[in-house]
Symmetry: C2
Subunit: 179 residues, 2 copies
């Protein structure tokens, strides 16, 4: 591999052979109401449901979603599709613990209010202006519009549970952090 | 696209054209001590540091990490590399707010203790048994070993901030959720 990583204290610059083939497959967020979340992520972000896994004896179901590239194919066979799903990068896992959707007082913690931890997921989009219009057309709530704040050209919206989603256009960020 | 998604209430089965090119780029976690986290993710998970972005006027720095495939190349030019980083899937962004690393009482919230929200990130590995040995060799803390609990063949470990990391081998999960 010709790429030399940026040097920082702590970094092991050459990956150990024991880590070969490790892939960052997914991030998991708990959601109150899967119907509401599936409607949001499929309608607004074009995500597809690769697999739903039910664990009725444990009172939860898992939904694995991906924003696929145009023409990208996914195995039809369910076993193959499960293996494929867990072999990809950039999967979103939504966990539904049964019953939360009918509890009017129930809500999850977004990680940005105290106590802080997890911050956000992020979608790259080919055209930030068009994406902002699309998000407005779908009445998505903005935490920060691209023109707001110190960091221009980056937006933040919320999903139905209040989790933050960053929206950025890679081509606009080429000079980010260059001094 | 030949793949037909699994049907669930709420799902828009055909992505809107306005969502074309959307990609789930990264998930962001706040970390107390970047040196400690970079050592962990580069040593134990073989991640590379694609970009560090400093915002000294806002008192934070961002670290963008990826577990690259063998032979996968990354642009050397820093502007190209920034654009490339934000165009990928499966990037991990670590946010360091300056000063947390020297505060002995400071810690972030993992999302699994109350109040719950975010759950975990997940690495797919080619050989779960070898990965477990590697994690043990590196004194990584296990929340759940593959043989524990109702869900076999899946492990959970913690990162230096206590965030959960799932470890799975896709080939072992082909029958998961099939009735």
């Amino acid at each position: 591999m010709s790429f030399k990583t940026e040097h920082q204290p702590g970094m092991t610059e050459t990956p150990a052979p024991q880590t070969r083939g490790f892939r960052l497959n997914h991030s998991m967020l708990r959601v109150k109401d899967p119907e509401r979340s599936l409607a949001f992520y499929s309608r607004v972000f074009g995500m597809r449901l690769l697999r739903k896994l039910d664990f009725p004896e444990l009172d939860f179901s898992l939904y694995f979603l991906a924003a696929l590239d145009e023409g990208e194919t996914v195995p039809e066979d369910v076993g193959e599709r499960t293996r494929w799903t867990f072999s990809q990068r950039g999967i979103l896992e939504l966990t539904h613990n049964y019953g939360t959707e009918i509890d009017p007082d129930f809500h999850y913690h977004d990680g940005n209010a105290e106590p802080q931890g997890f911050g956000h997921i992020c979608f790259a989009v080919p055209d930030l202006d068009a994406a902002v219009k699309w998000l407005d057309d779908n009445q998505v709530r903005f935490v920060k519009r691209p023109e707001d704040g110190a960091l221009k050209d980056v937006a933040f919206v919320t999903d139905p549970d209040g989790y933050w989603i960053e929206i950025l256009e890679p081509a606009r960020l080429g000079r980010l952090g260059q001094t």
